[in-house]
Amino acid sequence: MPGNYILSTATTMSGDVLDVIIEGGKVVAGASKGVQHEEIDCTGLVVLPGFVDLHTHLREPGFEQSETVASGSRSAAAGGYTAIHAMANTFPVADTAGVVEQVARLGVDAGLVFVQPIGAVTVGLRGEQLAELGAMAQSKARVRIFSDDGNCVHDPALMRRALEYVKAFGGVVAQHAQEPRLTVNAQMNEGPLATKLGLGGWPAVAEEAIIARDLMLTELTGSRLHVCHVSTAGSVELIRQAKTRGINVTAEVTPHHLLMTEELAAGYDPLYKVNPPLRTSTDVQALRKGLIDGTIDVIATDHAPHPKESKDTDWTSAAFGMVGLETAYSVAQHVLIDSGESNFERLGEVMSSNASRISGLDHQGRYLAPDVPANLTLVDTKKSWTPEPQTQSMSENNPYSGTAMRGRVRHTIYNGEFSYRDYSIMKKAGD
């Protein structure tokens, strides 16, 4: 039975202080007579729409030593997420209706967050032949976002076909923009530091060339493009121009690209090895500006768990990626609120409503809406904390561990019930 709660004297995104009343799992305007409510003091907490992550690697099926749908769901709930999008680079790859339905069902079983699978664009992520996008779209998993993330759909003819094909299902192609021939043996951002360290460079143009091409293909096909983990100032500018021209493009940026720079590679600690690589402070500033002015639509975590042995090695042998679900809000608050550059309405858009719109999730990203079960996140903006390496995730490749952060998710309400309450995970939402 969905519970009845009063979240008393919570602060809304616009700064009003009010009681949020939940009955039968839904937000109501006033408390009904004869209904018993549990009152939770939310004084000083900001109530936000439950966060929606467009880019999560849950690793199941296939790589359960790194993460499972259940452990990733716990990490998501602790990060304030009520919906996450499971990337397709599992084993087997999520390139059939069977696999996406399996992942979706595992999400329901975990019961802490809505798990929306992303389908592969091409069979086995190999970039050779379209996967059965229609079957995945029409499956119970209702896939709308297709991505070969980890790999770029680099063949221009195949990318064009994918963009055309997904129009039939209201789909979108989420591109991992990386020209493979320009990034052979790439280990970190190309530039003087990579030269000094003797590490293979990953040039900005390898991202920008693919984005420029894909924007033109999107215009040609009249389709919809989403650009994953934008990392360079040049990419932001390309997307800004494309939006001005009316091209149907959206873009995401990761928390780490908003916060960290390539200098972290100087100690050769693979904790900071990630793809696309950490860039320069010029890029970080451009990404922040793009996020604030609407060029970039979404903060997406690219939460990428890896087992210890994949990082406890030399730089070149190490895996790319870092976890990020539980720290994304703190980074968002730092960039948008504590900087004085933006506001909670924008934070709600980039952490929740824009992602749910891109994915077509009508039950997510809705703020205090009466017609759907409540998906809400309550944050303590003044809470100072220092993440531990070990989080709800099964993996410890956490670059934020030991870093003092400000602002933390305190409660997460998924489908009208607490999935995370007073900094603790519920077994399932409502348990």
């Binding site: 052979v184 280990q187 530039g191 003087p192 030269t195 000094k196 360290l197 003797g198 590490l199 293979g200 100690g267 050769y268 600690d269 042995e309 406890d312 090695t313 030399d314 730089w315 070149t316 042998s317």
Partner: protein, 313 residues
């Protein structure tokens, strides 16, 4: 000094002291009994994940002349070439009693990583990590240049000396370590190579040259260091053919004539005769190649002595 990972670990005084110590060690090599008892009871492991017989032998001889026990561990080709990690291999060797690990590895930063993690407690000597550094090569080059520039080398730096490094700067650990160390010692270092292989950020503006003839004329170098050309650079289109490379960037008879009478020619070896250097240059009186090899043993003795003898440098 606990480790030698990068030429940047050495300030000018430390570098000069190491070179002076290497001169002392060199004297040992001229004795009838070429051995010092200094490191008796110490164990040096040469841990080579890449083939490099010359460097390995040089370190081996250096350790033996100091009376250390030496183990050579060639990771390539053994059961561990895939699967067992740098960490496990290094820990295994340390468990057998290694006091110093001399590491050659294809991954840039691997020596740094071995020294800065809690994997092992041994002294680490970087014997070449990927495209990053090869500090003992730079020390032996500096020793060679210093000897060739002065009758009594001890105590001196390299100020006033102009060095031209020619070849694949992008991928060369020899070039990186030399750029750092020679600059620390006061030399003026220029580089020359195809623009595909000569990143501008390596040296101050005006010290990158794309054509060897022009570089020789404008720099008038006291030292020309030719880097070895790797075959795979050609297949990756960094330059079109060996012929074209040799024509524009190779050291040959006619370019030898452009050099000063006392200009030293260095090459880290092994040489591709006919590619980056022709026989006339390699065998000329200006060629310091065998001095480099000789000094390599002395420099490595100095490094091992400094790291393992317990004396504060």
């Amino acid at each position: 000094m606990r480790h030698l990972l990068s030429a940047a670990d050495l300030d000018k005084d430390q570098a000069i002291r190491l070179l002076d110590l290497a001169e002392d060690m060199s004297d040992v090599n001229d004795r009838e009994i070429k051995k010092l008892p200094t490191l008796r009871g110490k164990t040096v492991v040469n841990l080579f994940f890449e083939d490099s017989t010359r460097t390995r032998i040089s370190f081996e001889l250096a350790a033996k002349r100091l009376s250390a026990d030496v183990i050579n561990f060639a990771a390539k080709g053994s059961s561990i070439s895939k699967g067992e990690s740098l960490k496990d291999t290094a820990q295994t060797l340390e468990a057998m009693g290694a006091d110093a690990i001399v590491l050659r590895h294809s991954s840039s930063g691997s020596a740094h990583r071995l020294a800065h993690t809690d994997w092992v407690g041994s002294a680490i000597v970087n014997a070449g990590d990927g495209s990053h550094e090869h500090p003992t090569q730079a020390l032996l080059d500096a020793m060679t240049i210093r000897q060739g520039s002065s009758d009594n080398a001890r105590g001196k730096d390299l100020s006033g000396i102009k060095v031209l490094i020619v070849g694949d700067l992008s991928h060369s650990r020899v070039a990186r370590s030399n750029l750092i160390l020679l600059t620390t010692l006061g030399a003026e270092v220029h580089v020359c190579g195809p623009a595909t292989l000569a990143p501008a950020s390596l040296v101050p503006a005006g010290q990158v040259h794309f054509l060897l003839d022009e570089a020789i004329k404008s720099v008038n170098p006291d030292v020309v260091m030719m880097l070895r050309v790797q075959q795979e650079r050609m297949s990756a289109s960094y330059f079109p053919t060996e012929r074209e490379y040799a024509r524009i960037w190779g050291l040959n008879k006619s370019r030898l004539a452009l050099l000063g009478e006392h200009t030293q020619i260095l090459h880290p070896g092994p040489m591709n005769r006919g590619l980056e250097i022709d026989a006339a240059s390699a065998d000329s009186k200006n060629s310091m190649v065998l001095n480099q090899v000789r000094n390599g043993v002395a420099v490595r003795m100095a490094v091992l002595f400094t790291l393992l003898s317990g004396e504060v440098n």
